[in-house]
Every structure is written in structure tokens, then in C-alpha cells.
Subunit: 418 residues, 2 copies
């Protein structure tokens, strides 16, 4: 099938799906989870083929992202079950007004229709994305990277098997056969066939969508996340938050990349930070954090002098850029100039400083006295997510089932004319 | 000022605006309305210059759109006052969860930042758009058609005067000086400077935005609106609704362009329709409606045979395409194939038919027994609107102050790490 034929089949399935109720969609999700477990052998065999072909071509980190095993597969099935049990977002009455002329205007959540997802080498995105789309009443067209195609295809086959057992069209979930650039371009410009496109991948893919997509698109962005340690910070909390935000998983988008410290506490805080992130971690056999320091921080602790680009880089590594600032407003201005509007935190015991920071910082998630690492669908209570949106239209932050719906107005009259 | 300089000034003003409260924004709107009234003479003089320059170049309809007078200006000032009195959308707490680890996650409505609006020759869009943006806490950069520039510039000067009296930066509202194609292109691609772009104009402008905009954009669409007269319709209601939807204002996007009639009632309904829309209107000295009939309708009443394009045309005129269908599902399928997803109506006394139609039709507004003409911010109770969205992301239907906001998550912790 060509990519357009796959989309046309999904479009044909979407009306059937739009007329199902929440109970039917829940049953379909349970059947999908069961089918995934039942197809374990086929899926792991396909994954071994992908891994054999990729060895020597991909880094160890990427091979690990690609790899499946019985545990990971069980986790994927459990994820689908979690989504099955979430509240049904479709049909929710968002608003209702009765006008003086007797018209009853209801604003009701409705499915998007066909959601296309472009992703890379993580096979679990296949089932996460398909489950979230189905929960939201939409058909899902998936396009993975070529290195993961056999794995994703085996997963898709299992999910479709599950759909069949409950009598829903298999074409509600489809994997695009072509993994070349053409298929990504076809999805981006399939006006009228793609109701929503979600690129889930690196900055290059996002930028290609911004430049080329003519279909509606939600961008999931990169994260240059900041932690600001205020003059009124509890320095013990600050130390724990900075270490956690930087080192608990440095390769993810909600990890901290930049630390801003108020000059009043810099002389006390920065030496403690150096001990904790460099010396203590070395002693414990953990990777120490490379500190890239602006001039004022460099007067207080050892580290690499920060280059100009260091405050605009998503390191995704054990590297932290550090600057000293004179006020909350200077921290806010620094963040406005350098952030990707993902997640930022202030550590302070001063309510006024916290209020000013949360009001003025224009990011998807703004934290007071907590780690930026919490920006995540699971941590926000959404079960899972389709990505983290750093845009302001439609969805911002974690994208769950509700964010994958649109709405329409249904107006009940008795012959009203205008 | 170049267009980019205008945008940069608006960006500089947006933080000031984001830190105002609802009372300050309300006071600003009242001052803007007063200043508009106070500057009546200057605005009408500028408008006369625009009209003098346009005479002979523009059609009478377009000249009428461009023309201002004391009444219209008073209407614009009253519109700003209405917006001032709407509920404040900014800061509304949209959701709140307390997680087991003690994190308090609030989802709060926040301003977009800088909203750019590209429009054509109607000077009143200047004050409507500026008022709605300001209500929503955003700065507004306006780009009108060259034929309206003097009028829009005089209006903008008055609104800025109003802002000054309450101490807000004048650059919260700005008119782009360049009215050439370059300035529209500059707004569409000013990544990081335009938080939201709204094209308010014809299909050509919308299409240019879809193809070229890299900034976030809400498309306001055209309307090929359908009325379906069901087998179980009250034919008297149907007649009144069809006449109203077609003739009360044929040049607007929520006017009916296509009539679908169930075959069971076609023989009774279509002759009555012909009498009402053609014969009766002729007798009353009103413009009769030209009926473009499919083969089955043509067997029942006189009219023009419908060409293939007639069911895909936004006539914006006293023309109505008419087809006979065999079922609700055939009506739904026709609408799916030909509608622009703006507004569609079913006329029926059968609840099951109404429920199937409202569930299956994927348009911004779906009516039961009422005219499509009600799809309008004022009629929906929003005061006024920035346009009618026919897209599914973010805003669908009338765009009011709430739809001009985004949201962010504010997370309150006590040192939580992950």
C-alpha cells in the first residue's frame, strides 16, 4: 500500500470509530493489550532481526532504544491497559448555554479523525500512540524509522488482530510501509487525509514539520530547562532538586541544562554544588557533572569557562551551564531569552518571588520547589502521553487523550431563524 | 518602522501586559472605547480619504465594507465596551490535581503573547481584533489591506491614545506600516515573534497561510453550509429555516449554499420551496433565489440544472444547490464529501435521525431545527469574535477571548525529586 492508500483506508475507518461508544473503545484497547502479549514470540523475533541489521550501524544507546524483551513488551501491554482505564474524553460536554431565543448550544468533545505520528527507533511508541489515539476515538497512521520497521510492523499486526476480535476495522491502526523521506513528506502534506500530525523525534524532524507541514500539527519540542535558585532558597532543597533535575536521566527533554543562582546565595550554594555534583559523584563511581561557568560563577568554583553557545544548548548529557544573576527579574529575562519554553523551576521560600516567577515565565510547566523532571504524562496523572508540547496552540505540556480530541458545537432549536 | 521592528516592540510590551490583572485590562478597554469616540472626526476624515482613493477601483460592495460613519464608529466603540464586560479569561484555573507525592499541579489559562491579524478592507476589524487580543492579555499586531490603511491607522492611533491614558505601553496595539505582500509574508514567518497568527479574509489569504506560515496559525475558513430536510421534518419549519439560512445575508460564511431533501418529502417540500424562494420573493420585489437542481429535484420543480461544481461552491449569493437523497446516511456522506466543515443543519422531528446526524457530521457547528446563520460569536454569547475557525486544533467555531488564550501548568512542590 502507498502512504496515501493507507491514509484513505484510515479515513474510511474513522466514521465507524466516531460512532463507537467509550465501552467499545475500552474493550478494543483490552483486546489490543491481550493480542500484544499473545504475539510475544513473533514481535521479539522481528525485533532480533532489526537489532541484527542495526548492529555496527547504530550506537549502543540507540541499539538499547530499539531493543525489546519480554519485560518491555509486558510494560507496553500494561500501558495499553492503563489507557483503557482512563476516563473517556470523547463526548464530554465542555460547555452548555441556553440562549434567550431558546437555542441550546452544547460544546462537545469529538475525535480528531485520523492522527498520524512520525517517530524514530523506539518500538514502544507504536503501541503508546495507537492506544492513545484509539482512546480518543481516532484512527492512527504510524510512520517509524527504517531501523525499527520489522518490530513496529509485528506490533501493529498484533494490535490489528486485537481490533479484529472486537469487530473494529483493522485499518484504525496502520503502519506506513515506506520508511523513506517520501512517506514523511506525504504525511506532512496530506491535506484532508491527516486531521492531526504529531512528529515525535529530534529537532531536525520537528523543524521539517514546521517548515513543510500543511496539515494541522502539534510540535513536541526540545527542552533547555532552567532551575533558578533564589536568594530566599532552602539550599538543601535546592541541592537535591538540581542534582535530580540534572542527573536522574540526563538524556531526556525535562532534564535541567542551565542553573541560575542569585548572587546573594552563590558563595554558599556553588561550593556545595561542586562538592555534590563533581566530588561526591566521582567518589561514588558515578559520572561527575561538567560545570560550564559564567565569569561570576567561575570566581567561586572550579569548572569549564562557559562559551556563548552553552546557555542555548540541550546537552542531554552530564553537563550543566551555570550563571549568577542579581534578581528574580534577571532570571526571568535570561529564561525568556534562552529557554525552549518546556519546564523551568524556581527554588525559594519567598512566596512573592515564586508568584512573580510563575506569572512571568512563559513555559509549559513552571515549578516551585520541585524538579523539572516531573513534566511527564505519567507524573501528571494522565497515564501516559503522546509527547510534551512546547507550543501554545491547542496542547501545551503532556499530550494525553483529552488533548487528542477537538470539539464541536451541537445546537438544538425549534425552528429558530435569524 | 519595519514589520519586524513593530513585532519586536509588541514582544517587549507583552510581559508588561502579562503582568496586568483583569481590572487593568478592563480599564484599558474602556479607555480605548472612549478614545475611539473622541477621535471620531479624525477617523472619519481618514476614511473619506480612503474612500476617495478607492472610488472607481473597488466595487460598490467593497466600498460599502470600507465605509465608516458616525453610527458604525459608535457600534465599534460599543463592541469594545461589550468585550470589556466579558468574563476575564486570563488566569482561569482550568484544572487542579494533587499527586500522591504532594505535588500540586494547576493548569492555568495564560495569554498567547503577540497575536498578529491579517485582514482586508473592513476598518472595524481593527478595533474588534485589538479589543479581543487585549482582553486575552495579548499584544496585537494588525496588518490591513492597503485600501483601508488610512482608516485603520486613525483607529489604531485612537486606541493607542486610550492605552496611554491608563499607563499601558502603546505598542500593545500596532498597525504594520507596509501593506504590501512582503509584510504579510514577514508576519507568517516571524518565528518567535508571532505567538499566534489569524488570517481573516478570503480563501486566497487562508491558503497562503496554510502553505507559507511557519508561525502558529488559526485558520478561519470558508463556509459551504448544508441544510438537510429529513423524512420526518416539519416542513413549515424547514421552509422558514431554508429561506433564512439562504437569504437573510447571502454574502456571509454561515449562509446556506446546499439544500439536501429526503426523497420521501421532496414532492411535497420542493414545490413549496419554489413558491417561497422564487415566486413569492419576485412578487415582493426581493431578489429571487436561483435554484441549481440535481436530476431528481429537476423532476419536481423548475430551475437551472446543477453543474458538477455547484455542490462545491461557496456562492455567497442568491444561489442554492439542491439535491434529493435517500437517507440520513446519504446526507451525511454528501456533507462529508462536499462540506468545508463550518455549519450544517438537520430539520427533523425524529430524535434518532437528529442524533445520528449530530454524531456523524464533522463540522464546527451542527444544528437541529435551526438556521446555520447562528454560527457567530454574538449569537453564541461570546460578545464578538475573531473569526470562525473551521480547523480542529485549538479553536473550532467562533473565536472569543478564551480561545485566544493558551495555558500553562504551575506545579507547587516542597522539594520533590524524581
Amino acid at each position: 500500500m502507498t502512504t496515501l492508500e493507507t491514509l484513505q483506508a484510515a479515513q474510511a475507518a474513522k466514521t465507524t470509530l466516531a460512532l463507537t461508544d467509550g465501552a467499545a473503545r475500552k474493550a478494543a484497547l483490552r483486546a489490543m493489550a491481550q493480542a500484544l502479549t499473545a504475539h510475544e514470540a513473533q514481535i521479539l523475533a522481528a525485533n532480533r532481526q532489526d537489532l541484527d541489521a542495526a548492529r555496527g550501524q547504530l550506537s549502543e544507546v540507540l541499539l538499547d532504544r530499539l531493543a525489546l524483551n519480554a519485560d518491555r513488551l509486558a510494560g507496553m501491554a500494561a500501558g495499553i491497559m492503563t489507557v483503557a482505564d482512563l476516563p473517556d474524553p470523547v463526548g464530554a460536554r465542555l460547555d452548555r448555554v441556553v440562549r434567550r431565543n431558546g437555542l441550546v448550544i452544547e460544546k462537545v468533545a469529538v475525535p480528531m479523525g485520523v492522527i498520524a505520528v512520525i517517530y524514530e527507533s523506539r518500538p514502544n511508541v507504536t503501541s503508546d500512540a495507537a492506544a492513545l489515539a484509539l482512546k480518543a476515538g481516532s484512527a492512527c497512521v504510524l510512520r517509524c524509522g527504517s531501523e525499527a520497521w520489522r518490530s513496529c510492523n509485528a506490533i501493529t499486526a498484533a494490535l490489528r488482530e486485537g481490533l479484529k476480535t472486537v469487530g473494529l476495522p483493522e485499518s484504525c491502526i496502520a503502519l506506513v510501509e515506506d520508511t523513506g523521506r517520501n512517506s514523511a513528506a506525504a504525511l506532512m502534506t496530506a491535506d484532508g487525509l491527516v486531521d492531526l500530525l504529531i512528529p515525535r523525534g529530534g529537532a531536525g524532524l520537528i523543524q521539517a514539520c514546521v517548515q513543510n507541514a500543511t496539515v494541522p500539527c502539534i510540535q513536541t519540542g526540545t527542552g533547555i530547562c532552567h532551575v533558578y535558585v533564589d536568594a530566599a532558597a532552602d539550599l538543601k532543597k535546592a541541592l537535591a532538586i538540581v542534582e535530580n533535575a540534572k542527573t536522574s536521566r540526563p538524556g531526556v527533554c525535562n532534564a535541567e541544562e542551565v542553573l541560575l543562582v542569585h548572587q546573594k546565595v552563590a558563595a554558599a550554594f556553588l561550593p556545595a554544588l561542586y562538592k555534590r555534583l563533581v566530588e561526591k559523584r566521582k567518589k561514588a563511581g558515578q559520572t561527575p557533572v561538567e560545570l560550564r561557568l559564567d565569569a561570576r560563577a567561575a570566581e567561586l568554583i572550579p569548572g569549564t569557562p562557559a562559551g556563548e553557545g552553552d546557555f542555548d544548548t540541550e546537552f542531554l548529557d552530564y553537563i550543566l551551564a551555570v550563571a549568577v544573576v542579581d534578581s528574580v527579574d534577571e532570571a526571568v529575562a535570561h529564561i525568556a531569552a534562552h529557554s525552549t519554553h518546556h519546564s523551568e523551576a524556581i527554588v525559594t521560600e519567598d512566596r512573592a518571588a515564586a508568584a512573580r516567577f510563575t506569572a512571568a515565565v512563559d513555559s509549559a510547566a513552571v515549578y516551585v520547589n520541585a524538579s523539572t523532571r516531573f513534566t511527564d504524562g505519567g507524573e501528571f496523572g494522565l497515564g501516559c502521553e503522546m509527547g510534551i508540547s512546547t507550543q501554545k496552540l491547542h496542547a501545551r505540556g503532556p499530550i494525553g487523550p483529552a488533548e487528542l480530541c477537538s470539539y464541536k458545537y451541537i445546537v438544538y432549536g425549534s425552528g429558530q431563524t435569524r
